[in-house]
């Protein structure tokens, strides 16, 4: 009987140790990457984008973001990133983001000099800029920029696109979720 009790105690002890190991493993797998990601800043690299309530283009808009805005990255889900921005949280598509340590404002207004960097947004203050386009337009008046501006000003309403997709038996970006 004594041997049996000891054996049971050893088994219980082994099970407890396994449980602890499993808990540590679960913590490592799920929480450590989340902690590592929390606080990482990402920068908006497109003119305008939207932070949605859910990872879906037709979800409610939480906040609009612009080129150079810095967002705190909370988690990733396929092509979507859960972010915090000005006290609000939501989902933004990763194609509108880049990793950056730099404050873009300083690049554009020229109040300080950024370090030499290959970072996409930080270097975008130089190169082919509106200033270069303006110079090109002045010397090439035959180029039809007025029509380009008109084409770019054409915006689709989100509701209109959603109805078009539904009525045509198409899909609402499920692949992106």
């Amino acid at each position: 009987v004594g041997w049996g009790v000891q054996a049971e105690m050893e088994i219980a002890d082994t099970m407890r140790r396994d449980q602890v190991r499993r808990s540590v493993l679960i913590f490592m797998l799920f929480f450590v990457p989340a902690l590592a990601m929390a606080g990482k800043m990402v920068t908006v690299k497109v003119q305008k984008s939207t932070v949605f309530h859910e990872p879906n283009f037709f979800s409610r808009s939480v906040v609009s973001v612009e080129y150079g805005d810095q967002l705190e990255m909370l988690e990733e889900l396929k092509d979507w990133v859960h972010v915090a921005f000005r006290g609000q949280r939501g989902w933004i598509h990763k194609s509108s983001l880049t990793s950056s340590k730099f404050n873009l404002g300083t690049v554009f207004v020229g109040t300080s000099s950024p370090s030499a960097t290959h970072d996409e947004v930080a270097i975008a203050g130089k190169g082919f800029t509106p200033e270069v386009e303006s110079g090109y337009r002045q010397s090439h008046r035959e180029m039809n920029y007025a029509l380009v501006d008109e084409i770019e000003s054409y915006r689709l309403e989100n509701d209109s696109l959603r109805d078009f997709i539904r009525q045509g038996g198409l899909k609402i970006g499920e692949a992106q979720r």
Binding site: K45, V46, Q47, K48, S49, F57, Y67, D79, H93, S95, S96, V107, G110, S113, P114, A116, H118, E120, V121, I123, A124, G125, K126, G127, F128, T129, P130, E131, V132, E133, G135, Y136, S139, H140, E142, M143, N144, Y145, L147, V148, I151, E152, Y154, L156, S160, L161, F164, I165, Q167, G168, G169, L170, K171, G173, E174, A175, Q176
Partner: protein, 296 residues
């Protein structure tokens, strides 16, 4: 002996900024090169490393606008609001189902008023389709296939590949290492000239020469993915290419002069479609195509 030198050099190597600097430091330490040679190699490498920095999404946008402006100075714009509405809705449906739903300035779709059978994707997402191409397609799914292929070029940034590498290197060299607050007059003149050359590089590929075979296959592949994700029948892509081939036999120019490998593409696309099986188009999709097509 050399191993000992390397160990002694370790603290120095740790402080080196680039792989080239590590190599040249070792080279000096082991007596392979002189310190003067090291300096020259480091300077050249720094220039080269700067040169490889990619074109940003924002620069891609300005290049694309320039290419679009040039196309619009050669073709007439088809200003029919219903057609623009219809094409833009199809295009945006595909774009949100693409691997790159966001570009710097977003996707914009426009129609060129010409009988030429063609479509162009400017870097950054301005996409043109001609009335000739609109007249060629038989249904919304075929029209979606044309736009999906063009979105494929935008996703893969094929237009930017057309830019002369030496020209882009010169752009980066002109910018220099200093984060200047404003361009000097000479810098700006040089950049404007390089911008013009860059636009010309892309325009020549889009409108005159056409993309290479590899880029076309890649755009087809991305396009088929967009069609499937959007719920369009990718088999219509195949039908579209067959129609284009028939038009090619009829001697039509435009698209067919810049997309010469249609037979090859038909074969590749057919292979990629084996597993696809979409439900037939609902009546509303058929009806709206007929309504729009009546004005083309």
């Amino acid at each position: 002996m050399k191993a000992r030198i390397l160990i002694l050099l370790l603290p120095v190597l740790v402080g080196c900024a680039t792989a080239t600097e590590v190599a040249t430091t070792v080279g000096v330490g082991t007596g392979v090169i002189t310190s003067g040679q090291k300096q020259a190699i480091d300077q050249t490498a720094t220039k080269a490393e700067r040169a490889v920095r990619p074109i940003t999404d924002r620069e891609e946008y300005y290049i694309g606008r320039g290419v679009a402006a040039r196309i619009l100075s050669q073709y007439r714009f088809y200003n029919d609001s219903e057609t623009i509405w219809y094409v833009s809705h199809i295009g945006n449906t595909l774009a949100i189902n693409s691997p790159r739903p966001y570009t710097y300035g977003g996707y914009h779709f426009a129609v060129l008023d010409t009988d030429e059978i063609n479509a162009f994707a400017c870097p950054g997402g301005i996409i043109f389709i001609t009335r000739g191409m609109l007249k060629l397609v038989h249904n919304e799914d075929e029209l979606a296939a044309v736009l999906a292929h063009e979105i494929g070029h935008v996703v893969q940034k094929h237009g930017l590949k057309a830019i002369n590498k030496a020209r882009w290197t010169e752009v980066v060299t002109t910018l220099g290492t200093e984060a200047a607050r404003a361009y000097t007059g000479a810098q700006l003149d040089s950049l404007i000239s390089l911008f013009e050359g860059t636009i010309d590089d892309v325009f020549q590929t889009l409108v005159v020469r056409g993309y290479g075979r590899g880029d076309e296959h890649e755009a087809d592949k991305v396009g088929i993915g967009c069609l499937q994700a959007s719920g369009y029948d990718p088999a219509e892509f195949h039908h579209l290419l067959v129609s284009l081939k028939a038009a090619q036999k009829g001697g039509a120019g435009g698209f067919l002069s810049t997309h010469p490998n249609i037979t090859d593409r038909i074969e590749k696309v057919s292979m990629g479609l084996k597993s696809a099986g979409e439900s037939p188009a609902p009546p509303e999709r058929i009806a709206r195509f007929k309504r729009s097509a009546s004005s083309w």
